[in-house]
């Protein structure tokens, strides 16, 4: 799943947009029966409302593909462990890291 999928999902909503815009043009310039106020409600439902629902669903899916919701989750933030379960004890028993030596040298001088 990459961000490129989001672009293709957004492009997949273009036929629905086309139908919605054609219905909008019919409402504005067409016959009176396409008017949602005094015309037939079937045009509004089939050409307007259905297309809007499909467009919204596709855009939400595209947003999930572009910015995934599992980015900030725990298994994604977890860093790779040292070897196995006893990583904390191993860190205590090991030699101190290099920066402590550097700090001691600066304290001596």
């Amino acid at each position: 799943m990459t961000a490129q999928v989001g672009l293709w999902i957004a492009i997949a909503s273009f036929p629905l947009y086309t139908v919605r815009v054609i219905y909008f043009m019919l409402v504005e310039f067409g016959n009176v029966e396409f008017d949602p106020v005094i015309g037939a409600w079937r045009y509004l439902v089939c050409l307007g409302f259905t297309m809007e629902v499909g467009i919204v669903i596709l855009l939400i899916l595209a947003g999930v593909a572009v910015e995934p919701w599992w980015i900030g989750m725990k298994f994604d933030r977890s860093m790779p462990r040292a070897r196995s379960g006893k990583s904390a004890e191993v860190d205590v028993e090991e030699a101190p890291p290099a920066y402590s030596r550097v700090v001691d040298q600066t304290a001596m001088t």
């Binding site: 957004a10 043009m25 949602p36 855009l59 595209a62 572009v66």
Partner: protein
């Protein structure tokens, strides 16, 4: 208010005409989000004329020292997509003025501007697809 039914009809027509504009805005915003997610970090700048090696280096998530004299982050598509806000605002203003002064030509002008916005976004998408 002599005829309240007439007012209701006017409001219905205006709202139905405005109903398409947020969909176009959301499409433009979605394309902007995709375009910003294309870049792993905002610090990275890459060439407009990008070779295959530059593309591989920049898209691997490694930071590249920014030299703005030679390289620049291309914001042309982003700027063009942001301009859809202006078109949608003009269309909404025309439709609201049409509902206010009861002028039908303003309403049709707003509808034509919304159609032009959709064609504009479609042309930008064709440009983006031709490049990426």
């Amino acid at each position: 208010m002599k005829n309240p039914g007439k007012t209701v009809v006017i409001v219905e027509v205006v709202l139905q005409s405005i109903g398409l504009s947020p969909l176009l805005l959301e499409l433009a915003f979605m394309l902007i989000r995709w375009y910003m997610a294309l870049i792993p970090s905002r610090i990275i700048h890459f060439c407009f004329f990008m070779t295959v090696a530059d593309r591989a280096r920049n898209f691997s998530g490694r930071a590249v020292p920014s030299d703005k004299s030679t390289t620049s982050y291309p914001k042309f598509f982003e700027m063009l997509l942001q301009c859809t806000r202006l078109l949608v605002a003009v269309a909404v203003a025309l439709i609201i003025v049409a509902g206010s002064i009861l002028n039908l030509s303003f309403l049709k002008a707003g509808a034509v501007v919304l159609l032009a916005t959709f064609i504009y976004v479609a042309c930008i998408v064709m440009l983006i697809v031709s490049r990426y």
